[in-house]
């Protein structure tokens, strides 16, 4: 295991810290915009009309509350813990990302911004943002790495159909990290007119807090549903961790319930060498990337490392700062599942339950497949099924040879 080099800890700042992590590491040009965003978000949060409009859209447009589904066949086959799925894949646009896109979209409109920019990896956040912009009549530009545009082409086409402009990013690793850098460059340039609708619990304050708040509905519903069905809290809540938005949303209402294990699954990719995976808590160390202080995969010179995962949404060199804190506190456990395990999990869930998970979510399913047989029948695992796998059909067709025999 790589030794963790703890750098001189940046000074505690007033706002947006999760333990020592988080903060605001941005060019000065963006500071006024971040301060304004924080103030406007606080006002919106306390505004009953804003909350009512968001609640209405989440219910009648996005399809909340999402089902909590008991996987009877899968649980019986595995012979151990009961496995439930929180069905974020059933939401409009096909992933949890719509929760945050609706919240921030309404906020942008409230702030009078007419131009929205976003980054996307798997394309789900891009599609969610394009959808919300269509709904609210806002201009939409989405930055996406060239590698991701190719492997998630279906979502590129969806965004264009929805009226968004998709701008390819050809720098660096041509994936999510580079799309975020390009979106930040656009924001610095057009900060007076543009709202940056960031898609994960990442970046400078207030984004990690705001994005988490917009996804908190996942764990609030989950808690109510599992208490109603089982009369007790789950043994563990399992979620994949890219930037960390679906995981923090699925966990937040359980953080104070110390008996509930919170298990985050990072992408093991195709190997343990730097560059072959996106397991920040296994191979990374604290550092600053794209506005926040958190765990970062980096080389001996502090250059950000390349990453790999079969799932574009987990293929990122850093992780949200609240996760860094939960990791250091030991409140959440972070494990790794690799490309092959995720692909196996897609097939297993599809053929046992008739549910096709996104490759990102399949990492969480893979961990449940590993864990359930080691547990007792009274144990309950809830997997946050963050998205559906339609977008991955190209990759799946190739990897699983579906066009062949």
């Amino acid at each position: 295991m790589a030794s963790i080099i703890v750098p001189a800890v940046p000074s505690e700042s007033r706002a947006g810290r999760f333990g020592v992590y988080g903060g605001r590491y941005v060019p000065e040009t963006l500071m006024a915009a971040l301060v304004e965003l924080e103030r406007e978000y606080d006002l919106a949060k306390a505004d009953a009309a804003f909350q009512a409009e968001l609640a209405d859209l989440l219910k009648n447009y996005a399809g909340r509350p999402t089902a909590l589904y008991y996987c009877k066949r899968l649980s019986e086959q595995l012979g151990g813990a009961k496995i439930y799925l929180k069905r974020e894949d059933l939401l409009h646009t096909g992933a949890h990302k719509i929760n945050n896109a609706l919240g921030q979209g309404l906020l942008a409109r409230r702030m009078g911004k007419k131009r929205i920019i976003a980054e996307t990896g798997a394309g789900q956040h891009g599609v969610a943002t394009a959808t919300v912009c269509a709904l609210l009549g806002l201009e939409c530009v989405v930055y996406m790495g060239d590698v991701d545009m190719e492997r998630q082409e279906l979502n590129v086409l969806r965004m264009r159909l929805l009226g968004a402009e998709v701008r390819g990013v050809s720098s660096g690793s041509k994936t999510l990290k580079d799309a975020i850098s390009e979106a930040m460059r656009d924001w610095v340039t057009n900060v007076r007119t543009t709202y940056y609708l960031l898609g994960s619990a990442l970046g400078a304050h207030p984004y990690p807090t705001m994005v988490r708040d917009f996804h908190r509905c996942i764990s609030l519903e989950m808690k109510e549903q599992i208490l109603e069905r089982e009369g007790r809290l789950p043994t563990a809540v399992i979620a994949c961790v890219g930037g960390g938005s679906n995981a923090i949303g699925a966990w937040h209402a359980f953080i104070a319930d110390r008996q509930v294990r919170l298990i985050g699954v990072e992408a093991g990719g195709r190997g343990t060498a730097l560059g072959e995976h996106a397991a920040r808590f296994r191979g990374g160390s604290p550092g600053v990337l794209q506005g926040t202080f958190s765990y970062v995969l980096q080389d001996e010179n502090g250059q950000i490392a390349l990453t790999h995962s079969v799932s574009a949404g987990l293929d990122y060199a850093s992780v949200g700062p609240e996760h860094a804190m939960l990791h250091d506190l030991g409140r959440a456990e972070y494990v790794v599942q690799d490309d092959a395990a995720a692909l196996d999990a897609v097939v297993r869930l599809a053929r046992t339950e008739g549910i096709l998970p996104a490759l990102e979510s399949a990492h969480a399913v893979a961990e449940a497949l590993r864990l359930a047989p080691t547990m007792e029948a009274r144990d309950i695992l809830v997997v946050n099924l963050s998205g559906r796998g339609d977008k991955d059909m190209g990759i799946l067709a190739r990897e699983l040879n579906l066009q062949g025999a």
């Binding site: 080099i5 750098p7 001189a8 800890v9 940046p10 000074s11 505690e12 700042s13 007033r14 706002a15 903060g23 605001r24 590491y25 941005v26 060019p27 000065e28 040009t29 963006l30 500071m31 006024a32 915009a33 720098s171 660096g172 990290k177 580079d178 975020i180 850098s181 930040m184 460059r185 610095v188 340039t189 057009n190 900060v191 007076r192 160390s285 604290p286 550092g287 600053v288 990337l289 794209q290 506005g291 970062v296 980096q298 010179n301 502090g302 250059q303 950000i304």
Partner: protein
């Protein structure tokens, strides 16, 4: 060794260190100083330069690919200091390479190398507590960016913590060349002067003698970055020092722009 603007207008020249090679950057820096640059900013190559436009991005990508590190840049600063004892030298970096080096170790090394100041692109004053303590311990000048979007209370904080000079960003945006100067720059510098008597250098998008002359009307110095980095990109390593020297000499001659 100190940050002083003896020439009027002052010139700050930004170089991406290690592009095309560390030797070439050293030769270009010395030639730039001899041609009248008051301060050399040594840009530390970083894999994810989110405040930079295409020209500096490309330069950084090349330098990162060659493995150029902060350690190399500190060594380069030492060599330039040895060659030109009177010039101003500022290390210009994103925060992560410095954190990874170790804040304490880095300021010791930078001060020992003879650097005068440090500018960290993505470090704002609110997050700079420990950095400021370390910089003060070794007597290095912390230089912060001031932006057209910075409200007065932020400018006051920036002015309070800056030493050496204040770097005023000419316009909202990333680094790169532009055709005309906006009115943002003059009004920003006027606002900064309310809070500080330090020299003010204006940068981002300054690429010819006309821009320099305009900046000279309201600021103490102009920062030229992408135009120089682009010039180096288009030269051979052998020709780069001469080309940069001629370019810098032309920057202080308003008629040069017209004659071109």
């Amino acid at each position: 060794m100190a940050i002083r603007f003896d020439h009027k207008p002052g010139l700050v020249i930004y170089l991406t260190a290690g592009d095309p090679t560390l030797d070439a950057t050293r030769a270009v820096a010395v030639a730039a100083i001899d041609a009248g640059a008051d301060v050399i900013e040594l840009g530390v190559p970083f894999s994810d330069p989110l405040a930079d436009g295409p020209v500096i991005q490309r330069a950084m990508e090349r330098a990162v690919a060659r493995g150029v590190s902060l350690r190399d840049v500190v060594k380069l600063a030492r060599e330039i200091r040895a060659a030109r004892p009177a010039a101003g030298i500022v290390i210009f970096s994103y925060f992560n390479p410095i954190l990874h080096y170790g804040l304490h170790e880095f300021v010791d090394a930078a001060a020992a190398a003879g650097a005068d100041g440090v500018l960290v692109t993505d470090l704002i004053v609110e997050e700079a507590g420990e950095y400021l303590i370390e910089m003060a311990r070794v007597g290095l000048a912390p230089i912060f960016l001031a932006a057209p979007t910075s409200p007065d209370e932020r400018l006051e904080a920036i002015a309070t913590h800056c030493k050496g000079f204040i770097y005023a960003i000419s316009r909202v945006g990333i680094t790169g060349t532009q055709q005309t100067m906006t009115s943002d720059a003059a009004s920003l510098v006027a606002r900064i002067r309310r809070w500080s008597t330090l020299p003010v250098a204006v940068g981002f998008g300054i690429s010819n003698s006309e821009h320099v002359a305009q900046v000279a009307e309201f600021a103490d110095a102009a920062v030229v970055g992408s135009a120089i980095v682009g010039l180096i990109e288009g030269s051979t390593p052998e020709a780069a020092p001469g080309a940069v020297a001629r370019f810098i000499e032309g920057l202080r001659l308003p008629q040069a722009a017209l004659a071109r």
